[in-house]
Point group: C2
C-alpha cells in the first residue's frame, strides 16, 4: 500500500467552489486535483494499491480530509475538473470525525495533520523536501510508505515540526525543485521499478494515455 498526503493550505472546505476556477476561488484546488491524477492513474487503469489523502485547510470550514481509495474508486477521469468535481461532492457531505462516503472510493471527514499522523503511526513516513535523501538511494529501504507533500506554499514550520516529530524521514526526488504532482510521478516510478525487479510486470511502459475509467 502506498499512502500519499497532500496539504492544501488554501484549499476550500465547502463544496460551492466553481469548477471553472480551481486555481482561484477554490484556493489552488488545481494543485490537489493534479496530485490525485498523478497518484492514481496508470495508462490502462488505476493504481489500486494507493490511497490519496487531501488535507484541506482553507476557508470556510478548515480541517477536512478527503480520501481517494484506489481500490474502490469510480467515476474519476484524469482531467483536473473530474477530480475537482469528486472533491466538490465530498465537501457537500456533512463531515464529522468519522469518514463518510460521498461517491464510490471517495471519503470525507474532519481532521488535521495530527489526525493523519496518528492514523499512520507505525508506517514509514516520508516527507518530501528539497534537501532530503535522494529517493534513488533509499528506495530499497522503503516499506509500507506514507508520503507527505506540501502545496505551492510548501509546508509550514509548525507542520514540519509535527511531521518530523512523528518520525518522518526527509527525501527528495532529484536536483531541481518540482511541482508536487510531478514528485508523485517520480516516487511511483522509483517504487514501480523496484517492484518490477521482484515481479516483472506483464504490461509495460509509456506510449499513451489510454484510460479504462
Amino acid at each position: 500500500m502506498r499512502d500519499i498526503v497532500i496539504i492544501g493550505h488554501k484549499a476550500m472546505t465547502s463544496g460551492d467552489f466553481p469548477l471553472n476556477d480551481l486555481p482561484g476561488s477554490a484556493g489552488r484546488m488545481d494543485i490537489l486535483c493534479r496530485c490525485v491524477s498523478s497518484a492514481l492513474f496508470l495508462s490502462f487503469g488505476m493504481r489500486r494499491d494507493v490511497n490519496v489523502h487531501l488535507l484541506l485547510l482553507g476557508e470556510p470550514d478548515p480541517g477536512k480530509i478527503v480520501r481517494f481509495d484506489g481500490m474502490t474508486l469510480r467515476y474519476l477521469n484524469p482531467d483536473e475538473r473530474s477530480s475537482g468535481s469528486l472533491i466538490q461532492k465530498a465537501l457537500k457531505k456533512e463531515a464529522s470525525e468519522y469518514e463518510v462516503r460521498s461517491t464510490p472510493g471517495v471519503w470525507v471527514r474532519r481532521g488535521d495533520l495530527k489526525t493523519l499522523l496518528e492514523q499512520f503511526k507505525g508506517r514509514t513516513l516520508l516527507y518530501l523536501r528539497e534537501d532530503g535523501a535522494d529517493i534513488k538511494e533509499v528506495a530499497r529501504e522503503i516499506t509500507d510508505p506514507v508520503f507527505i507533500l506540501g502545496d505551492h506554499t510548501g509546508v509550514t514550520e509548525e507542520e514540519e515540526v509535527e511531521i518530523l516529530g512523528a518520525g518522518a524521514k526527509i527525501i527528495s526526488v532529484g536536483p531541481i525543485s518540482l511541482h508536487s504532482n510531478h514528485c508523485i510521478t517520480l516516487i511511483h516510478n522509483e517504487l514501480d521499478r523496484l517492484e518490477a525487479e521482484v515481479e516483472p510486470a506483464v504490461e509495460s511502459e509509456c506510449e499513451a494515455d489510454r484510460v479504462e475509467n
Copy 2:
C-alpha cells in the same frame, strides 16, 4: 534544448471548443494540456530550454502544430484550463505553413508529422514506446533530443513507420504503462539528474508547487 512532440489524433483544430469540456468536445485536449504543463513547469518558474510541439489532427481542419516556446512563453499557468486557453487562442489565428505568434511564446502553423520530422533532421529522435530501451540505460548518450509521444490512442502504424524511418530510437521510462504527461516528467528528471552531475543546481527539489508565472 529539449523538444517534445505530442500527437493529438482527435484534438480539435479550431479554437471554438469549450474550456469546460477539454476531454470531450475538444477531443481529449486535456491530455495535451497536461503534457504542456509537465514539459514546461518547474516549482519556481519555467523550463526555458524546452519547446513543446502539439500536433493536432482532429476536426474540423486537421494538421496544425501549436508550439510552446519555453524561452519566451508568458501567461501560462500550470492548470489545464490555462494551457487550453492558450491553445484556443492559437487556433483562432489564421494558420499557414509559416508560424504565426498568437500570444508570447505560443506559435501556430499548418503541418503534419512529416513537417516536424523534416524540421528535426539531424537531431536525436526518441520515440516513447513500452518496449523501448530504458531511458536510465541510454540517457548518457542523449544529446539535443526530440521526444515523440502519442496520446491515449498511442501512435498509429503509419506514424510509427514515419518516425522510425526518420531514424528515431525507441525508449521507455519504466516497467508500467503510463500517461504521456507522466512520461514527460520522468524524461526530464533523468536528464536533470545527468545535467546536475556536470553542473550542480543551485535550487533543488520538490517540497512544493510554487509558481512564479
